[in-house]
């Protein structure tokens, strides 16, 4: 009795729910941007539907009830009876959020989330209400995760693919198997499947002789099929399918759709096997639908089917074929949407610990390979020897393995960003502003970012963006935009939250800081220094304390939580244009490309991504700035100069840097700085080994690494180094940045 199998299934249901909720949010976002088609709506519908189906199997009544009513409204949208207005869109988002709450409530056996009934009532108003518990019993029809019939949604839109595919050739294949075909053990179903695999197939089964049970010869062939194939297919492709049955099956292949005249007699003589879709006139045939969840009473065919004929045909193979064909067509139709196809790629769930172990091992492998390379180099083997070529191949393989492992380890930022989308919706609703969230990039992040990000997003909605009226007065669109982006830069993850609001009101910030005694009344502050005041504890600019923020626990909390992750946060703002917060985090465990340099006898690694260029100093480039500081002149710009040896305490600043080598580095905010080193040794990949746990944070140092000779080298964080250095060498600066 180690594990309860039901509990496991239940757990995997909730994991699937999370995935479905994610695709639901994705599709809703697409719809919100006006970038959607029927398939997008189907994704939304399917997600809600699958959650409902699974929940039904586990008897999660509250979840089923909510999902069902949500789904009912979505179904109206899907069928085109409901127009997608911005208000409806908001309700859909809100309902999706609540659905997530319901799932979590069901998982943790928590209380039913508040507000769901109100939301449902609002939703049902869209479709004129009353759709409520009408078809509750249908729930029992669903198999958990039963996706197969969901494709019925795709089939419903028969018209759409038809229009889209109108330029593709259409083939009509009439297949008349002889008795010999069955006698030889062939099976029409396989042929139909093979045809359906070629393109979009519509299959019509036609009974040749009226059913006369008395005269029935069980071995006689009474059925033939008419297949309409659409797709990039040649006649040869079709012929190939019938390669082995040519002599026992009559095949007529004609280009173009079979016309109605052809169809009508066939229909009149054929007792129909299944319902005819609404769109019959354009259809050259019809599929055999299983019952769809939304009961669509089949309209009678043009010429009524003979009532006496039983739905099941008399040939033994037929029912099986009929049922199976619809299953075959369904995937084929669904495959028309490549998006759908991509989502279906197989995945494996692996414990994160195992991957971390693998990542660690790969890190060791990289170090070992470097050691091996060094000893081979020291052995003085000729460069074209077998050992050297083998080593090169080894290095490439190591790099590939490492890249692949890192890709496995990467935690996409998407779920986190989606959570933020919800925060924006709730926050903007609370303060009555119109806000749109744009997200960019899909990178790895640290889970613990959620709290600081939530805070920053709320801040942006509450303080950053103006009210719609103010925006209109300033000539901006009333809808504010908050952008959330994730990028890899300088071996770090940079996450930016920016808004297009009014920017930081610097005089006001300054006044408040003075009023609160945070700065001296006569202090001369630069714009950047004023911006940084926001990070001081106990600072809040909001005139009124709103429900969202403005309680004085603001950006200082954000900053300390970012710093506890080993990250930095910076702020930039332009009046009238907006504010941008940028969080930069170290990649906790990774490999980076670095430039190995030597300074005062020590070996250091500078992340390659932060280096713009390297140069040799000449005395005319160096200009004195203050008594202890220099700048260098690089192509028309002055860049502050730092002696790495002196900054790290290895040596005293030199009198003359003539002939020294400088690394020109760039920070996240674009500021450049020049670092003096003694020599550049090589460029290589290094494994990042954290210092935080064994020693603690060292200013200017991001981490350590182990070189080929087994020695530890420090990996610099140029931005942090410069930030700390500038505080020391430029006199009475306000010590805010520390």
């Amino acid at each position: 009795m180690a594990t309860d199998p039901m509990a496991e299934i239940r757990a995997s249901f909730f994991i699937e729910c999370e995935e479905l909720l994610e695709s639901l949010q994705d599709a809703l976002s697409d719809m919100d941007e006006g970038n959607y088609d029927n398939e997008t709506i189907n994704v939304v519908f399917r997600a809600v539907h699958s959650i409902k189906g699974g929940a039904g199997a586990f008897g999660l009544d509250a979840l089923v009830g909510f999902a069902h009513r949500y789904e009912t409204v979505l179904d109206e949208l899907r069928s085109g009876r409901l127009e997608l207005t911005p208000e409806a869109m908001k309700l859909f988002f809100h309902a999706a959020d609540l659905l997530g709450d319901h799932v979590r409530a069901a998982r943790d056996a928590g209380p039913v989330p508040p507000g769901s009934e109100e939301c449902l009532v609002e939703l049902e108003k869209l479709i004129g209400g009353g759709a409520g518990p009408a078809a509750e019993e249908e729930v029992t029809d669903f198999q958990p995760m039963g996706l197969s019939f969901d494709f019925g949604g795709a089939l419903d839109e028969d018209l759409a693919p038809e229009e889209a595919a109108s330029e593709l050739p259409v083939w009509t294949v009439v297949m008349r198997p002889s008795a010999a075909l069955y006698a030889s053990g062939n099976e029409p179903l396989h042929l139909l499947r093979a045809l359906a695999a070629l393109g979009e197939a519509s299959v019509l089964c036609i009974e040749d002789s009226p059913a006369d049970l008395d005269a029935l010869d069980p071995e006689a062939v009474t059925l033939h099929w008419q297949i309409t194939l659409t797709g990039d297919i040649t006649e040869a492709d079709i012929r190939e399918v019938f390669d082995f049955v040519e002599d026992v099956c009559q095949i007529d292949i004609t280009e173009g759709a079979a016309g109605l005249p052809d169809l009508a007699p066939a229909l009149s003589s054929a007792p129909t096997l299944a319902a005819l879709p609404d769109s019959a006139p354009e259809d050259t045939g019809f599929g055999f639908f299983e019952d769809l969840p939304a009961p669509a009473p089949a309209p009678s065919a043009a010429s009524a089917p003979e009532p006496s004929a039983p739905p099941a045909p008399d040939s033994a193979e037929a029912p099986e074929s009929a049922a199976a064909v619809s299953a075959v067509i369904a995937p084929a139709a669904a495959a028309a949407s490549s998006k759908e196809h991509a989502e279906a790629s197989a995945t494996v769930r692996v414990d994160l610990d195992r991957i971390d172990r693998l990542v660690n091992l790969v890190g060791e492998l990289v170090i070992n390979q470097a050691m091996l390379a060094q000893s081979v180099a020291e052995a003085g083997l000729p460069p074209n020897s077998a050992v050297m070529t083998g080593l090169e191949a080894f290095m490439m393989l190591t790099r590939d393995i490492q890249d692949s492992v890192m890709m496995i380890r990467a935690q996409p930022v998407k779920p986190l960003f989606q959570r933020m989308a919800r925060i924006v919706r709730e926050a903007s609703h609370a303060v009555g502003k119109e806000v749109r969230l744009r997200t960019e990039g899909d990178k790895t992040v640290i889970e613990r970012l959620a709290d600081p990000l939530t805070h920053m997003i709320r801040n942006a909605v509450d303080h950053g963006l103006e009210t719609p009226d103010t925006r209109a007065a300033a000539g901006k669109p009333t809808e504010g935009v908050i952008t959330l982006s994730a990028q890899h830069r300088s071996g770090r993850v940079v996450i930016e939250v920016s808004d297009d609001g009014a920017g930081i009101n610097r005089p006001k910030v300054r006044d408040i800081a003075i009023a609160k005694g945070l700065v001296a009344p006569d202090a001369q502050l630069s714009d950047a220094e004023i911006d940084n005041l926001l990070f001081l504890p106990g600072f809040s600019t909001a005139d009124k304390v709103s429900a969202l923020s403005g309680r004085g626990v603001g950006m200082d909390v954000v900053r300390s939580s970012i710093q506890s992750l080993g990250g930095r946060i910076s702020i930039s703002s332009e009046p009238g244009k907006g504010t941008r917060f940028s969080i930069s985090l170290p990649l906790t465990l990774a490999v980076l490309d670095g430039m190995v340099v030597s300074v005062a006898g020590e070996t250091l690694v500078v992340p390659l991504s932060s280096i713009l260029e390297t140069a040799t100093l000449s005395s005319e480039d160096i200009r004195a700035l203050g008594p202890e500081t220099n700048v260098i002149h690089v192509r028309g710009a002055f860049v502050p100069l730092y002696d790495l040896g002196a900054e790290l305490g290895y040596r005293c600043p030199r009198a003359n840097y003539e002939g020294g080598i400088v690394l020109l580095t760039a920070q996240e905010n674009g500021a450049r700085s020049a670092l003096i080193v003694d020599a550049i040794l090589e460029q290589r990949q290094v494994v990042i080994k954290g210092l935080q746990r064994s020693y603690g944070h060292i200013p200017g140092v991001a981490a350590a690494t182990i070189l080929g000779d087994g020695q530890i080298a420090l990996i610099l964080d140029p931005a942090d180094l410069v930030q700390n250095a500038s505080g020391r060498t430029r006199g009475p600066n306000l010590a805010l940045a520390g």
């Binding site: 080994k689 954290g690 064994s694 020693y695 603690g696 060292i698 140092v701 182990i706 020695q711 530890i712």
Partner: protein, 153 residues
């Protein structure tokens, strides 16, 4: 009860030399003993932090015990050793002149250090004992390790 067991239980100490003086640590906190390797110095680190070394793929901070106790730095040559100790979740290396002995003695032979003048080394010494006429100092590892480490310990 607690007193009784602590009085009779045996204690094993690893003793080592620092500038002709004998010190020791509880052998249960010693992970391994390594030969001298050059440590990579850390910027902005206190003087007693000699730097970091590579201990089979992990970064290990090394404390120059001699400096920590207010004496001249250990020179750092092939005769010196690094004692790798673990206190709580923290691991660190102690650079000493040489390891001398392993001593087993009952706990009740340990004496608390007398309250003496404000000597740097004083606060790092947990107990004293006499073995074969030599005075052995037992170090308080938690106090010796760098701040971050002792906080975590």
């Amino acid at each position: 009860m607690a007193d009784h067991s602590s009085n009779t239980s045996e204690l094993e100490l690893l003793s080592f030399r620092l500038a002709e003086e004998e010190y020791s640590v509880d052998i249960m906190s010693v992970r391994e003993i390594r030969g001298w390797t050059r440590a990579t110095p850390l910027p902005h680190a206190p003087a007693y932090v000699r730097g970091v070394i590579n201990l089979r793929g992990t970064v290990l901070p090394v404390v120059d015990l001699s400096v920590r106790l207010g004496m001249a730095p250990v020179e750092g040559d092939a005769r010196n050793v690094i004692i790798v100790v673990q206190v709580g979740s923290q691991t660190a290396g102690l650079l000493v002149d040489a390891v001398s002995d392993i001593l087993a003695l009952p706990r009740n032979e340990l004496q608390a250090p007398p309250e003496l003048a404000a000597d740097t080394a004083h606060s790092f010494i947990e107990a004293l004992t006499i073995v074969d006429g030599r005075m052995i100092r037992v170090l308080d590892l938690g106090a010796v390790l760098p701040d971050e480490a002792s906080e975590a310990a």
